[in-house]
């Protein structure tokens, strides 16, 4: 359990700037999710904190201790790798035991067995414990990889897209499990994902990375309701926020170049005429694909709507976000 602090951290691989002056505090006991597309610097951040790579610039501290020069073992971090990185010649049980059998820990065998059994149960891999690590499906390997981190009680958990290759149901189960493990143990957890549902449901804080820069850091709700840019606004929300030319509707501030409309920021029944192109019935909600003067707009409506393709719906913005030409939010 510890606070992780990054100050002005930078890292380049050859000519590519992977991280650019990132400053971030991961509070003790928080669940921080890093969001961003491939190449944004999420994995690099984890590797720098783990000590697998060394930063070119800046300071990283774990539990108020500067970790420069410390090995991953000394930093006491547990990492879940995106490519699983299981020990292929060992069984699932041996893989899970591996971190506990470290001579530093001197865990008694009964304790190891109990811990491994417990974690295997949570991850639903008990029946696979005696399989070889290579005789597993991708999802099972990923769970073993998570298990290898969970058997320990490290200062920080670092997880790199740990649920990416699981099926939808298992992913939903494990989201709940991971969140409750973290909440109950008070562990500090740094989590990398593409999946905004994971970010919204598990995170206490979300960090948005864009080309190596941390563009916004805050609670999921804060991020959703107060995005600093088009980029940050596009990370969260399902369906995605609609980004349209500001001039499409009246009343935009002077500098505004774009207007951002989440479904709840679109008021139906008054304003401009738009054409219904497609109606997607998802059960609990219905999505409307609209066309307003050749600009596509996706919004949500009543689940039992009678609207059909070809109908006309009047819409108007309600407390929208305005962005300037560079994509920055105009308050």
């Amino acid at each position: 359990m510890a606070e992780v602090k990054l100050e002005q951290v930078g890292k380049s691989f050859g000519a590519t700037r992977a991280l650019d002056s990132v400053t971030m505090t991961v509070p003790d006991g928080s669940f921080v999710v890093l969001l961003g597309p491939t190449g944004a610097g999420k994995t690099t951040t984890l590797r720098l904190i783990a000590g697998l790579d060394l930063p070119d610039a800046g300071r990283i501290s774990i539990a108020a201790q500067d970790v420069a020069g410390l090995s991953p073992a000394q930093r006491d971090v547990a990492m879940v790798f995106q490519q699983y990185s299981l020990y292929p010649h060992l069984s699932v049980r041996q893989n899970l035991e591996f971190p506990l059998k470290s001579p530093i820990l001197r865990t008694p065998p009964a304790e190891i067995a109990r811990k491994v059994g417990e974690v295997a149960e949570i991850l639903q891999i008990t029946h696979k414990l005696d399989n070889k690590a290579t005789a597993l499906s991708g999802g099972e390997m990923q769970r073993v990889s998570i298990g290898r981190a969970l058997v320990r009680n490290p200062a920080v958990y670092l997880m790199d897209e740990p649920l990416s290759s699981l099926d939808a149901k298992l992913r939903a189960d494990l989201r709940v499990e991971l969140k409750s493990i973290q909440a109950n143990s008070g562990a500090t957890l740094l989590y990398v994902t593409h999946d905004q549902i994971e970010a919204m449901t598990m995170a206490t804080h979300v960090g948005v990375l864009d080309q190596g820069r941390l563009v916004q850091f805050g609670t999921p709700r804060d991020l959703y309701e107060n995005p600093v840019s088009v980029y940050a606004a596009s990370r969260l929300g399902q369906p995605r926020i609609n980004i349209l030319p500001a001039a499409l509707f009246g009343g935009a501030p002077d500098r505004a170049a774009q207007i951002g409309l989440r479904p709840e920021q679109i008021r139906q029944g008054e304003g401009e005429n738009s054409l219904v192109e497609r109606v997607e019935r998802l059960g609990d909600q219905t999505r409307l694909h609209l066309n307003l003067r050749d600009h596509p707009i996706v919004t949500v409506t009543n689940a039992h709507t009678d609207l059909r393709p070809g109908d006309i719906v009047k819409i108007r913005p309600q407390n929208p976000f305005y962005f300037d030409a560079t994509g920055a939010r105009i308050p």
Binding site: A73, F81, S85, L86, P88, P99, S102, I104, K132, R148
Partner: protein
């Protein structure tokens, strides 16, 4: 309608021929394809083997084709297995085999481990280290006789430099005690690079991320070496041992060039002994029995070994 090249070929085939081809079943066609290989295998492998086994029960001598051939039953086998000279030869072979494998595996793995570290010019070093393997065994045998020369030999001078002994006071190839080691050293010099290459392939097959995971799991370098590196390279290592074992059981050229089997019979390996029996003493029946015994030995050992290898791979 469009035609694929196969359709065109089918159309171009004369009707008479097409009828005959169409009459062939898939099985027949399969046999036609494998027949040449089967024929070659029978002609150059199976037939000589059966013929050798047949000859091993006779007193046939290939340099006296007109003599009557007498059926002697198991007498050849009995004579070989009770002959002290044969057992001395076997011992020399075992000594050569065991020590070359032990030394080559240890040194080869150590070299591979070092070369696998990232440093400047390691490709160049690999090429240099692999060089001895590319030479002809006859050439290697020949120049090691010079290296082992008591008066002018570099080897003796190097040993003398480290031990303080007089370089002319010992002869690696002339001494009964040293000659078995002389051939072990020369073979190790020549073939360690081969073991190194296979070990290097094994080491390179271990993804770096596994070491990173172990690093996060707080395994020391020592523990990583024994729980990750060694088990994952082991199948490769065992393969190298198999190759070197089979090769050195048949060792002939290098040793003949270096010591000629001497002094006395101290470096007469089984293959050298067999060649003398068969083509110097012309005891064809006797040497056939000898060859069968060696074949059974190698085949038996190799089968047991391959089984063990597969078990390691499955782990």
């Amino acid at each position: 309608m469009t035609f694929t090249p196969i359709d065109k070929a089918a159309r171009a085939t004369p009707p008479a021929m097409a009828r005959r081809i169409r009459g062939l079943s898939d099985r027949t066609i399969a046999w036609i394809f494998v027949a040449p290989s089967i024929f070659l295998l029978l002609a150059v492998n199976i037939f000589p083997l059966i013929w050798t086994i047949r000859l091993s029960f006779t007193n046939f001598r290939v340099n006296r084709p007109n003599n009557d051939v007498e059926w002697v039953g198991l007498r050849n086998y009995q004579r070989i297995l009770t002959d002290e000279g044969t057992w001395a030869t076997m011992q020399a072979t075992a000594h050569f085999l065991i020590w070359t494998i032990v030394l080559q595996v240890l040194i080869g793995f150590a070299l591979a481990f070092l070369i696998n570290k990232k440093f400047r010019g390691n490709d160049l070093w690999t090429t240099i280290i692999v060089f001895p393997m590319m030479l002809s065994p006859a050439v290697v045998g020949n120049f090691w006789t010079f290296l082992y020369q008591p008066q002018i030999g570099l080897f003796n001078y190097v040993v003398a430099f480290f031990t303080g002994a007089d370089p002319a006071s010992f002869s690696m190839i002339g001494d009964v005690m040293l000659a078995p080691w002389a051939i072990v050293i020369a073979d190790t010099w020549m073939w360690t690079p081969f073991v190194m290459l296979i070990c290097l392939a094994g080491l390179r097959s271990i993804p770096n991320s596994i070491y990173e995971a172990a690093e996060c799991d707080r395994a020391s370098k020592w523990r990583q070496f024994w729980t990750i590196t060694i088990p994952m390279v082991l199948p490769f290592l065992m393969l190298a041992v198999l190759f070197r074992g089979i090769e050195n059981f048949k060792m002939f050229d290098l040793v003949v060039q270096l010591t000629g089997g001497g002094p006395g019979n101290t470096t007469t390996l089984t293959s050298i002994d067999l060649k003398r029996e068969a083509f110097e003493k012309w005891r064809t029946g006797y040497s056939s029995a000898y060859a069968v015994i060696l074949f059974v030995t190698v085949f038996g050992l190799a089968s047991i070994y391959v089984k063990a290898l597969n078990k390691v791979k499955e782990r």
